[in-house]
Amino acid sequence: MTDRNSSPRDGAGTAPVLELDDVHVRYGGSHILQGVSFEVPATGVTALLGRNGVGKTTTLKAVIGLAPRSGRILLQGSEIQTTSTAKIVRGGIGYVPEDREVFGGLTVDENLRLVAPDQGVEAPVVGRLFPDLVARRGQRAGTLSGGQQQMVSLARVLLRDNALLLIDEPTKGLAPKLVTEVADVLAEVARTTPVLLVEQNLPLVRRIADRVVVLDAGRVVHRGAAADLVADADLTRELLGVSMRREGVA
């Protein structure tokens, strides 16, 4: 495996692209995020980890304005906690939701054309990363296999220049081979665009993440370099209930 640690990944010194400061999310009576604060530096991959239901997805949704949030959220220094979703996205955030959320009634091409009106499936990134989609350009996205839909969902954000990518479990449901490929894509993208990544696949995290933020029950319980977490088996077990090394064997 390539050691990617040599790439500029610290981000220290430069201003963070995204800051969360004491962010809360409440749904009706349930207090889901209870004061989440962390920063996403301007380069590299920041992984947001945690068990099921701790609020990872909710955090991403809070950033992009899809969850009712309070607290301060800064994108490139300007507050966005009251901005509408469409505006935030036009301000430079790309979002890959965990449920894929492709437009089932539209063709693959039309799905992509929503974001890149003149290119659609012709865009070079798509051809390079997901040749399968090019072949299926006229198929209704609703009839794609789960993995293929995931590709559409990913391709959709890569068509545009983003200041930050929010990606929620991109490799879920992808075949192992494709997981590797996607990991490479993400690593490559992260070289120019910072990525906030939610992921359950720990080997992948180990491979591409620079920093980790671990959530538990709506609070941040750990922040640090990915390498440190990987190195500390006890810490991993404590935070995530599992050892990264053992997983990597599979």
Binding site: Y27, G28, G29, G104, G105, G142
Partner: protein
Amino acid sequence: MTSPTDHLTDTHTSSGEVAVDDDDTAAPRPAGQRPQGRAHLLQRLLPVVVLAVLAYLPYVPVEVPGLLPGRVNGPGSLQLLATCLVVGGIALSYDVLFGRTGLLSFGHALFVAAGSYLLTISLSTWDLPLPLAVLAALGLSTLLALVVGAVALRVGGIAFAMVTLAFAQAASIIVMRNPGGVTGGEEGRPLDRDAVPDLLVGVVNAPYRYWLALGFVVVAWVAVTLLVRSRAGHAMAAVRENEQRAAVLGLGTYRVRLLALVAGSFLGALGGVVHALVLGGSNPHLTTSEFTLSLLVMVVLGGAGSRWGALLGGVLYTYADARLVEVSSSAVLQGLPDVVRQVLSQPLFILGVFFIVVVYFAPSGLTGLGGRLIRRSGSR
């Protein structure tokens, strides 16, 4: 992906909050979630108390100016209340389809009208005695429901709504055409007075018609309660929420929906029978799509998927419909500019606007709104 049934499920909960339901949600809440002992008892007792109060009304000679025409137990008031109750019960029967099973039927009026017309026809044209006539009306209406349901349920969602609307429209046309002189066309068909007990005829006997209507509501209430608590009721909720999942669990979704439609229609037809008895005849208004639409309006007004909601919606709607006429001719409007007054003097205008307001501010219905207020004050 959105499917028409998804739209339906939205009725029950608005943006994540549970539609307030009585203890009869699809499945009772697990033990830990049950309402506290005393509150629960109260909830159980409430229907009984309400019933007792309602049953006693014919003995209450009090005037409530403005609210009711004359004394509470005067014939006018009791006739009005009886009509309200019958329609409330019919709304309850419609909720079996709409609120419980997610079937947006625009043809429910068809079965209500079938019950009503078949009763008057079997009394006057076929000369059946009352008990047989009632049986005939119920039996034939249920058969009709079975046939119509079997065809219409081949589609779902909005298409089902439109298809049932078309069937109802056909029935309406047939009734208007007055085939063989049995339906009386747009003039309707009065009840054969000699064929029904004297107690149901005449202004002085309004209390008995009122009790009859109340009896129907009780029957409908109990039937819906039992149905909802039965396995069928749970299956109906399952079909409403996710049809495909229900199918792979082994619930025959077509049969569940057909069952709901037939059960709802049976109660609806019973409502039609009582309606004919209370009003002294059948009239084509029952067959119109407006009537079905108003049933939908009632259920939503009160709160879909809840017995209190449907009943209350039906009663309130009918009451408002009848009493708004008074408002429009009242002195309050006299000072207003002409155009405004003319518009406001149309009861349907007020009703329509009121309905929009309710949908808008209380998407889960009046009972939902009430429940929300209670909960809010409770949590403080």
